[in-house]
């Protein structure tokens, strides 16, 4: 088969001072007509850079130094801008990661899609409108007539991504480049969007270059796979072959880091005689957006009658999609949010109504690890101060607190020299270790991890999960693990709670919930996980290398 697009010996130089000289080095691969080619790699692997080079959207400071991208007899690298523009959005189009920001907030959907026709065709206004409506129907937007007239902020993330897809497919391009199009979406929405891309790809015979970091997604849609590391291609092959019999060590490591979708056998402990470290009873929290004389306020039940117990030495998973209330519950528990009613018993004492002063001694017992390691550490403080500040505030002498910080760094496997350095000198995974050390500085009984790994690359995720698990055993912690990724939940949680619209719809032993979900919603969630069949225990697992 004659390839549609050929990348040959492509090297893209990074500006001086970057962490490596080339974003992409000696890259060669081909995209065949009508196939879905997944380009996989961790952040910084150069996978998006290649896509931008194909689209001619590289930043000015970064240019292809060598090589060619051949499409339709033209070399896209050396093609003059005026002619490249004729291809862009017409023969080759692209959709992006963040549907929330990828659309112009000040333009109606109809005008944003219509613009594509305006630029590349001489259709009349009526024709443009008719075609736009057709496209919106094609991508399965509910009420397409109304969707024409709305602004982006009136649509959900999934709907916006559908609009982006409609826009990209408007002129039936030969190639669609999808740059992590489902990464920012909930798992059920992701499943729908993946399905949609596949369906439209089949219908129109479009070749799709799908960039992702998620091997689950690869298993779901890829025909062929390219694996990239540090700007170089380390492996290319058929999806089945790469997924089940990876050749390169790096691919093996990446795949091994993807948690299989099988909950391992766990010892079920009888805890009925134990007192729970944390007990939540009938917790309710409602958000009311204030109305006015003319408009009723909007009420959102973020937590409705939430009940659970958490014991020392166990990990309880709180899973659900965005808006399910899982973060609200976790924030109420550590008293970052005030709950409306219900009880929060920490070690048997009700803490929900304590004022700041009375609460202070309890703050030590329950600590939180936050989602975004880049934003949750004060950039102007040294790591040592970040860790020690909490105990110092609680009255521990400075020297003692700093000594303790040193020990904590060892505990989270960071070198002692980290003490006097600043957060920006560390990688995401290392920062999250600092975040954990900070939480542990108080010797808490309960650790609340709010999506603590979701901002990290998959291989780093595995390390942090392992660390949390080790610490849990060592320190006999009760861990509340708030997570949206069910693969992760299956691996690390002893029990899980599934939340939807502020309510617990299902709770139980992890293995039981995964193998025999009782509630429709849970079943839907599990079925939506991309690549659910792959690595579900039915196939031989690849040899697991030590994760670097």
């Amino acid at each position: 088969m004659k390839p549609l697009l050929k990348v040959e010996d492509l090297s893209i130089r990074l500006p001086e001072g970057a962490d490596r000289p080339y974003a992409v080095q000696n890259l060669s691969y081909a995209l065949n007509p009508g196939e879905i080619l997944c380009v996989v790699g961790e952040s910084g692997s150069g996978k998006s850079m290649t896509a931008n080079a194909i689209m001619g959207l590289l930043p000015k400071a970064i240019q292809a130094e060598r090589g060619a991208i051949t499409f339709d007899g033209h070399d896209l690298v050396s093609l003059e801008e005026r002619r490249a523009r004729k291809m862009r959005g017409n023969r080759i189009s692209m959709i992006f990661q963040e549907p929330m920001t990828a659309l112009n907030p000040l333009m109606r959907i109809e005008d944003q899609i219509g613009e594509v026709f305006l630029i590349h065709s001489d259709m009349s206004k009526q024709q443009r409108q008719a075609r736009t409506l057709e496209l919106l129907k094609d991508v399965g937007l509910p009420d397409p007539e109304k969707a024409m007239k709305v602004y982006p902020h009136q649509l959900s993330g999934g709907q916006r991504q559908r609009v982006m897809i409609a826009m990209a497919l408007a002129l039936e391009p030969s190639i669609l480049i999808a740059d992590e199009p489902t990464t920012a979406l909930d798992v059920t929405t992701q499943a729908q969007i993946l399905h949609l891309i596949k369906e439209l790809q089949r219908k129109h015979g479009t070749a799709v270059m799908f960039i992702t970091h998620d091997f689950g997604v690869v298993a779901e849609i890829a025909d062929r796979v390219v694996v990239m590391q540090y700007g170089k291609m380390v492996e290319i092959g058929d999806a089945q072959q790469v997924l089940n019999d990876p050749q390169h060590d790096y691919t093996k490591k990446l795949i091994a880091a993807v948690p299989p979708l099988v909950a391992p056998e766990r010892e079920v402990q009888d805890r009925s005689k134990q007192r729970p470290a944390l007990s939540v009873k009938s917790l309710c929290k409602t958000y009311v957006s204030p109305g006015s004389w003319f408009k009723p306020g909007r009420t959102v039940h973020a937590a409705r009658d939430v009940n659970f117990d958490l014991y020392r030495g166990e990990t309880l998973g709180l899973v659900g999609e965005s808006g399910s209330g899982k973060s609200t519950v976790s924030r109420c528990i550590v008293r970052l949010l005030e709950s409306d009613s219900g009880e929060i018993l920490l070690d048997g004492d009700a803490i929900q109504d304590l004022d700041n002063k009375a609460l202070a001694p309890y703050r030590k017992k329950i600590q939180m690890v936050f989602q975004d390691p880049y934003a949750s550490l004060n950039p102007r403080k040294t790591v040592g101060r970040i860790i020690a500040d909490g105990p110092i505030a609680q009255g521990v002498p400075v020297a003692e607190a700093m000594q303790r910080a040193k020990e904590l760094l060892a505990l989270v496997e960071l070198p002692e020299t980290a003490l006097d350095r600043y957060p920006h000198e560390f990688s995401g995974g290392q920062r999250q270790r600092v975040g954990i050390a900070r939480a542990l500085a108080h010797n808490p009984q309960v650790l609340v991890a709010d999506e603590a790994i979701s901002a990290l690359d998959v291989s780093v995720q595995a390390q942090i999960l392992e660390l949390i698990d080790t610490l849990k055993k060592k320190l006999n912690l009760a861990v509340l693990f708030v997570v949206h990724d069910l693969r992760v939940a299956a691996q690390v949680c002893d029990r899980i709670i599934v939340m939807k619209h502020g309510q617990i719809v299902e709770a139980g032993e992890t293995k039981a919930v995964f193998e025999d979900p009782q509630h429709d919603y849970t079943r839907n969630l599990i079925e939506s996980i991309p690549g659910a069949d792959w690595r579900s225990g039915h196939q031989p697992q690849p040899a697991v290398g030590k994760i670097a």
């Binding site: 959207l57 862009r88 189009s93 992006f96 990828a102 907030p105 902020h153 003319f294």
Partner: protein, 327 residues
């Protein structure tokens, strides 16, 4: 316009009236806090320091009454739209202000439009040439105009354009005694307007230019700009259809603030150029301790601020569909 919008505007107007009421009381005390009173000023000018004469003047103006009673008189007159008479000219304050208002609005309005258009234009040019010499040149120029005191700029402009070059008149609004009519009068006023409007507008031109530049650069990194480029659009279309519209939002906020200052904000310029507007009126009233006139100018100025704030909010709703009014 929906019924909700009308209700919203009504609600805002009622709130605005309350604000004005509070401001009026505050102004009243603020002015009395300054030492001296109109009687002293007038008596001083007449060369008389006779206690009896002072007493007579104070009685005539009602200044011998207790303060709370004066406040009561002022407020009760104000709610009947009566701002009293000036002490000196014995003219109704309202008439005097209305007499001077067109000149001020002409000056400040011209400066406003000029600075907004010029500032945004220059800012866009700078942003499109980000990190090139033209960007640096514009940034430096903007900083200079931003930092230079208005009156000094005005004096230098007069020196250059009026004294040395003789291109433009140095002061006033019309050529005295020329009695132009129709088109000639328009040209005459326009010529007189150039220097004061430039002087007044330059500061805000600099502010808008800096703001538009920053905002354009920031917006040009937004995801939707990349989407627009990925559609295969010409760079100029990307800039004007996508980047600029979004980048203008913060400029609108600032423009609203400037618009609110249109009446009271030109005191310096009007004084330097002898422009017969409200600013100068206020300046004179201040020296003469003409309480009624001062209070009148203050009141009209604050009413303008309240109105323009409301107008800004309404305009904001039109340019940004994400903002909802009735909240």
């Amino acid at each position: 316009m929906s019924i909700q919008t009308l209700f919203y505007i009504g609600g805002r107007l009622i709130k605005g009236l309350l604000v004005l009421f509070v401001i009026a009381i505050f102004n009243f005390f603020l002015i009395r806090a300054a030492p001296g009173d109109p009687a002293k000023v007038m008596a001083g000018e007449a060369g008389a320091t006779d206690e009896l004469f002072l007493q007579q003047l104070r009685e005539q103006f009602g200044l011998d009454q207790p303060l709370y009673y004066q406040l009561w008189v002022y407020i009760s007159n104000l709610v009947q739209f009566d701002m009293g008479e000036t002490y000196r000219q014995q003219m109704p304050v309202f008439d005097l202000i209305m007499d001077r208002l067109p000149a001020t609005l002409l000056l400040t309005g011209t400066a406003f439009v000029l600075s907004l258009v010029l500032g945004v234009l220059v800012g866009v040019i700078a942003a499109s040439n980000h990190r090139k010499w033209i960007d640096s040149a514009i940034s430096v120029a903007a900083l200079v105009f931003y930092a230079t005191p208005l009156f000094w700029l005005a004096l230098m402009a007069v020196l250059l354009f009026s004294v040395f070059l003789g291109w433009l008149p140095a002061f006033g609004m019309e050529t005295v005694g020329a009695n132009f009519t129709g088109w000639d009068r328009f040209v005459d006023i326009a010529e007189h307007l150039v220097l004061p409007a430039m002087t007044l507008g330059l500061f805000f031109t600099a502010v808008y230019a800096r703001m538009a530049r920053t905002s354009m650069i920031e917006t040009s990194r937004a995801d939707f700009v990349k989407t627009a480029k990925a559609k295969g659009m010409k760079p100029s279309r990307v800039t004007f259809r996508h980047t600029l519209r979004n980048a203008l939002l913060p400029v609108v906020t600032l423009a609203g603030l400037q618009a609110g200052q249109m009446i009271g904000g030109a005191v310096l310029t009007e004084t330097v150029f002898a422009w017969p507007g409200i600013g100068r009126l206020m300046f004179e009233a201040l020296f003469q301790r003409d309480y009624n006139l001062l209070l009148g100018v203050f009141f009209i100025s604050s009413a303008m601020v309240v109105l323009f704030n409301l107008a800004t909010d309404l305009i904001y709703c039109i340019v940004d569909p994400r903002i909802e009014l009735a909240k």
